[in-house]
């Protein structure tokens, strides 16, 4: 299987909400110095999904990572290599900045066409900055291939199909899909593997391939290729008036909490 995984570098989404800041005048987030960039967690799980397939037949399987952005930190974007992926392509240029899902998916589609034939593309179900959950399906549409979103299990079958478990509200659907296909991965897949020391060594020696818009034949990228416009970005004000119940002991506080809820007709 020839597999491609799209991985985005994002600011650590697990950072405390209190660290989050906006430059509202410019409709932009401000990067707080204490918050570090990471690979979008779902994308690590997308890498995991591809590596699980690679594990079954190492010889014939290849995993290529594509990351789009600007000022990508090599230590961060190389993580999938240290987990066991084979190759890294960076779509890196200031011109890629400020794109929406349409701009990102269009550039990824152009790069994938340049990479050549593939069997499976994996994306995360969504990335943690815009939380859009659109690039995967959009990319599949641009490439004219089938897609299954929010997968928790992917198995290659004989006869050119993969069996996918797709998470829905009260359970999951089991689908059989013809490949080449695109699959977006959810956390229900299970934890992504850690990088091994050997993997980290190998990754440090590998040089990513870097492509600019002209290399993949796109004349409009980033902000210039957007279909949607941000009219306003803002942080809703939180009133934050928590009544912290204090008492001589936590147990008494617990009992007092029940009383408070009763007084306020909550229970």
């Amino acid at each position: 299987m020839n597999m491609i995984v799209c991985c985005k570098q994002v600011l650590d989404p697990e950072a405390a909400p209190s660290t989050f800041k906006l430059d509202a005048a410019n409709n932009r987030m401000v990067q707080p110095p204490e918050v570090k960039p990471v690979i979008n967690p779902y994308d690590e799980q997308a890498v995991e999904a591809a590596l699980r397939i690679k594990d079954t037949d190492k010889a014939g399987n290849k995993v290529t990572i594509i990351s789009l952005g600007n000022n990508l930190l090599r230590d961060v974007v190389k993580k999938p290599l240290s987990m066991g992926a084979d190759e890294l392509i960076l779509l890196e240029d200031p011109a890629f900045e400020g794109g929406d899902s349409y701009a990102v998916a269009s550039a990824l589609a152009a790069a994938i066409k340049k990479v050549g034939p593939f069997d499976l593309i994996f994306c995360g179900r969504q990335e943690s900055e815009w939380d859009d959950g659109q690039v995967g399906s959009g990319l599949a549409e641009l490439l004219g291939i089938p897609s299954v979103t929010v997968a928790k299990k992917v198995e290659v079958q004989s006869g050119g199909t993969v069996k996918v478990e797709r998470v829905v509200a009260d359970g999951f659907q089991v689908l059989e899909v013809q490949y080449p296909a695109l699959i977006t991965v959810s956390n229900e897949l299970g934890e992504a593997r850690y990088a091994t020391l050997k993997g980290i060594m190998a990754a440090s020696k590998k040089q990513p391939i870097v492509w600019k818009p002209a290399d993949i034949g796109v004349d409009k990228a980033g902000a210039a290729a957007r279909k949607t416009r941000v009219v306003k970005l803002f942080q809703p004000v939180k009133e934050g008036k928590c009544d912290i119940i204090s008492a001589d002991s936590p147990a008494e506080a617990g009992a007092l909490l029940a009383q408070k809820l009763r007084e306020n007709k909550v229970i």
Binding site: F20, D131, G138, S147, A253, L257
Partner: protein
């Protein structure tokens, strides 16, 4: 597409009934249609949908197209896309609205990209800009830490709307509207996937989406036992349901279907009790609409205390039994 007019809502039906989210987006669509003084149409795609078409009229639609076919029983995007392409060609709407459900979030981007536009996903609010007559969509970004208003000049404008974000109209059986069948000749060569099975993982008791009280636990509970003992007991006393943040689901302490949050269930109960949950923005996205949030957490700095109405700082092992004993006594 300059002549596109009206609003098209893509509804969902289960066991012959409109899903609540469909009534909600029909309500939202009705308000936009009235502002634009244009029609609100609704597409229902599925099999054996009974009187759902009439229900969609009662919920605000002017015209309902029912694509009822055995082959449409289970959602699968290469099949449903064939219906949607024909639907868009027939209705030529300026705006398309879907629910942010498993199906809506899968279908909306594919349809959008097919039409050369981008959707705005998981919206909290839709409005019409008077000057341009374009829809403006408000949605949460950065895990819920911020909100953004999006618009686009490209037609049709496509949006999905979050569960419980907009209110349905009171159903009016006297409303006038047409319900017409919509025939689609499915092209088998375009169907790329087939649904082999649907596995239900429903939990016993009241559904978390329907419960007036939800008792939710987080990583701080340390294992599966407190969920089946203390939390289940408290939920029973309050006639509510048990929920969880993501780590207990990831750790298989509880079923995935009770995850509350941005990528789990979006709920708005009267009472939400969060035990051992730090209150990440992604988690709060799923419960911020609750009337009253109560937090029990041993860390006084935990973000949950910025979101809660009442809180106790302490170890749940001590706080919860005393709380439960008192609740029992008060409710007797």
């Amino acid at each position: 597409m300059a002549d596109n007019k009206g609003i098209l809502v893509v509804g969902e039906v289960a066991e012959g009934k409109l899903l609540p989210i469909t009534a909600e987006i029909l309500g939202a669509g009705r308000r936009l249609a009235d502002e634009l003084k244009e029609q609100l149409s609704c597409f229902l795609i599925g099999a054996q949908m009974g009187d759902a078409g009439k229900a969609a009229v009662a919920a605000g639609a002017d015209k309902v197209y029912v694509a009822d076919d055995a082959q449409l029983k289970d959602y699968e995007n290469s099949t449903y896309m064939q219906v949607m392409e024909k639907a868009v060609a027939e209705v030529a709407p300026r705006i398309i609205i879907m629910g942010q459900t498993a199906n809506g979030r899968d279908l909306a981007p594919r349809l959008a990209f097919k039409l050369g536009v981008s959707a705005v996903m998981d919206c909290l609010e839709l409005a019409i800009d008077q000057a341009t007559r374009l829809m403006q969509c408000t949605r949460a970004v950065y895990g819920g830490n911020a909100k953004a208003i999006f618009t686009s000049e490209a037609v049709p404008q496509i949006a999905t709307v979050r569960t419980k974000a907009s209110s349905p109209l009171a159903p009016d059986a006297g409303r006038k509207g047409d319900v017409v069948p919509f025939a689609v000749a499915l092209d088998a060569s375009k169907i790329k996937a087939k649904v082999l099975q649907m596995v239900k993982e429903e939990v016993a008791g009241i559904k978390i989406e329907d419960a007036a009280a939800v008792v939710a636990g987080g990583r701080g509970l340390g294992g599966p036992e407190p969920f089946s003992k203390e939390l289940a007991d408290l939920a029973r006393i309050l006639k509510g349901a048990v929920g969880a943040s993501r780590p207990p689901c990831d750790n298989k302490w509880v079923p995935d279907s009770i995850q509350v949050g941005l990528t789990g269930k979006i709920i708005a109960p009267e009472l939400y009790i969060a035990v051992g949950i730090s209150g990440s923005s992604q988690h709060m996205s799923g419960c911020a609409g609750s009337k009253c949030i109560v937090a029990i957490n041993k860390d006084p700095e935990a973000n949950i205390f910025k979101e809660a109405r009442f809180g106790v700082v302490g170890d749940w092992k001590v706080v919860l039994p005393a709380f439960m004993a008192k609740v029992k006594e008060l409710l007797q």
